[in-house]
């Protein structure tokens, strides 16, 4: 038994026949071969699978693929504009906000979501916003620094009217 769903992933319309029990993250990874979104647990704790669904960061392991029917989804693969990295991606690179890289896609998607709601977060607000994303490598120190750095870059860009950031909305 399978269900037919249609959604837009990183700007491209896609259609799939999926089992009702198929999770969104499985549909992305297994059916669409978009393996940038990771699975780090089985209890919706780790956040490695975070993507944007209709402009909200969600853990794609907590959502069935059929629930994404009609939705617009952005994954880590769709965050850059062609060759131009999203400021958050650049900030993680610049500030050594990653080591093994496994949590990084989910962490970046959560962080982008934070800055779209709160362009100038305090460190406490950053740490609270990424509570649902585990990282075992960095002690979070440089992740917080990266998000702070991205916020500065994106605010500067917005002031200058360059339109950097917001690439996902």
């Amino acid at each position: 038994m399978s269900e037919h769903i249609a959604f837009v992933v990183n700007g491209t319309p896609r259609e799939l026949d999926v089992e009702p029990r198929r999770l969104l993250v499985q549909a992305l990874r297994e059916d669409l071969d978009m393996t940038g979104t990771h699975v780090g647990c089985d209890t919706s704790q780790c956040g490695a699978c975070t993507v944007h669904v209709n402009s909200m960061a969600i853990k794609s392991c907590t959502m069935l693929a059929v629930q994404a029917d009609g939705a617009s989804i952005t994954t880590i693969e769709g965050l850059a504009s062609g060759e131009v990295l999203h400021p958050m991606q650049n900030a993680f690179w610049e500030k050594h906000g990653l080591q093994c890289g496994f949590c990084t896609p989910g962490m970046i998607m959560t962080a982008v979501d934070l800055l779209e709601r709160n362009p100038d977060p305090t460190d406490d607000e950053i740490r609270h916003a990424i509570e649902g994303n585990f990282c075992r490598c960095t002690g979070y120190h440089n992740i917080v620094a990266a998000i702070r750095h991205a916020a500065e870059t994106m605010r500067a860009g917005a002031t200058a009217g360059e339109g950097v950031g917001g690439a996902t909305r």
């Binding site: 990295l85 690179w93 990653l98 080591q99 890289g101 496994f102 490598c137």
Partner: protein, 800 residues
Amino acid sequence: MTTDVLGARIKRVEDPRFITGNGNYLDDIKLASMAHLAILRSPYAHANIRSVDVSVAKTRPGVVAVFVGADIPYNPLPMAWPAGGSAGIKNNVNTPRVLATDSVKWTGEGVAAVVAETPEQAFDALDAIEVDYEPLPAVVDAEKAVAPGAPQLHENAPNNIVFEWTVGDKAGTDAAIDGAEVVVRQRIVNQRLIPNPMETRGDIGWYNPGTDEYTVWMSSQTPHIQRLLLTAFVTGIPEHKVRCISPDVGGAFGSKIYCYADMALCMFASKAIGGRPVKWVEGRREGYQSTIHGRDHITYLEIAGKKDGEITGLRVKTYANLGGRLSTIGPGIPTTLYGRVLSGCYKFPNVYAEVIGVYTNTTFVDAYRGAGRPEATYVVERAMDLFAAEIGMDRAAIRRKNFIPPDAFPYENPSGLGTASGGAKIYIDSGNYAPALDKALTTVGYYELAKAKAEARTRGKYLGLGLSTYIEVCGVAPSKWIGAVGEGWGAAMWESANIKMHLTGKTVVTMGTQPQGQGHETTYSQIVAHELGIPMEDIVVQHSDTQGTPFGYGTYGSRTSSVGSTAAIKAAGKIREKARRMAAHMLEAAVDDIEVDGANYSVKGSPDRVKTIQEIAFAIDLAFDPPEGMEPYLDETAYYDTPNCTWPFGTHIAIVEIDEETGAVELVRYVAVDDVGKKINPMIVDGQLHGGIAQGVGQALWEGAIYDDGGQLLTGSMLDYAMPRASYFPDIELDETVTPSPVNPIGVKGVGEAGAIASTAAVANAVVDALSPLGIRHLDMPYTAQTVWRAIQGAKGGPA
């Protein structure tokens, strides 16, 4: 010459693939016709297996094959590092089979496996397997397991004892304690932890019927070692018929060093089903029982000394819980990597340790970030605080008084802690401990502590400060030492590097080490760029594949920057030497007259007579006109065996505040002054320290694997195990002193484990310091609000 990249904060060359979702982790690999494997695991901690009925499972949709232990002719997994070091130590060895046959010893031991077309079908079919278990009584606590009347796990291990190991000077230490002015005794528990790399483990086994060869992809820190173990020890397949590949590894922290049953299982299954690739990816809850745990010591410590703070003896008895069967190097961790560093950075004249390795009905225990050294640091640093409290001495002053003085290096503890059987020695190569201590004390305002504590009391808080003046042994290890009887796994621990400069000047560096997030592609590029004077952009670093990389022992034990890097430097030196001889030929000069400055090879006194290394590479790689006897190509391999380990040190200080009403502990400040010698890339060093510190803090404050008495893992998922979250931490303040190691040419020491080794004790000492006004002198970790609240209530005479 270009700006030197060695020692520079250079952005990592790995990162573009990771920040764009283009990493290639085990589960990202999809092969044509790949089948999927799922493992049925025991729900009992201790049981005999009467029978396993897979007949129904075989009929389930999509099922390709079902296997039980009896189907698999392989040997049990190897145990490669027995406890040794003195003559006659017996290790009562029991290791897992690929699938259990007669009995299970922990919840989660594999009993049967299904291969199906999809992972979902494989998991669904597990439910149809009928296992008839005869449940047996279980024991999960190491001290209880060796007590009379405890359930017995293995016939060859009476009283559940794996080994009884000792190190140091028993007579001298006994005398020091018997005759001491002051002796402090304490039972302390170093609780069991779950490593939790963000990527779980996984394997793909592929048997190629056309060539009779296997390829095994594995999320591993040690692909070369795994090829050796899987062939020579487990399967009997010839080593040259197996290729092991570690793709991008999503963190490991020690948990991916070992030879695991699933690796051999995927190899077996692929051949059994005719050569389709077979993938197994560990679920997180599954991994909590199928991948090793760390720590789990119960220790009785006795520290003796004079009333002026001079320590004269340390005696330790430790029960090390090793699980239901032994992991690959389980016994080596609480012995060699623990007992031999129990004196820390102190000149204790007498040290003696007795370690009892114990079987219990729990997941196997092996090296987890720091591996024995965090446990040793915790013992000695708690002991120093206990002794200081007993004699009323300042905690910084007692440390300073007992430091090994800077003019005493190289130093070996007089009780012989560094001497292996046969006389091979490691010794502390270098150190200068007081400057790091001073720097940290100044940074935190140590001498204003009383004022800060009083201020906190006005807010209903107990403030505490904890010191950890740690030392670690890393850069493991001299092969002669690690290969001494029982000190290692009988093999070597050198490292390897190959450098090829192709005729376009582009350079490929292949290494025997295996990163898991440490940024090797960046740091090795920095080293080779520095050594050869070429741009980093012209270098690619390859690793992780037994086909195409020289044999290496992999990455763990903070060994890559000191042992691996030195291999790369040696290989670069060979390249340089050959280039020099070629330059002399090209420039019609004597070899001795060729001067090397970065990429330029010029004739002494005639700087205009010059060839670049790229020009030289072009000439010798083509070899139209080589000098007499010179082989074509700039292609050199080097193997490097370190003469000694390296010994980072430092002072970490944690400041905590404890809420009097709730017992909640908040880490309010963390200052670390580390001396890791010279740094290849300080940005990466900082990142390693941040992560290590957070893991050690996690142990002190939140983490702990808990079994119930029947052997069920109560902290069996990420919902239940207290993984540290971003909001739990303040920013971490780092500083340094730099004492280059004399052991290797760049003076590096290693940094992967330092943070985790130091920080647990710092936080523990801070919590106990905070509670000391209540008369509390020790509390076991983790310091959850409940634990601390109970301690506060108990101290106040209330409900505990």
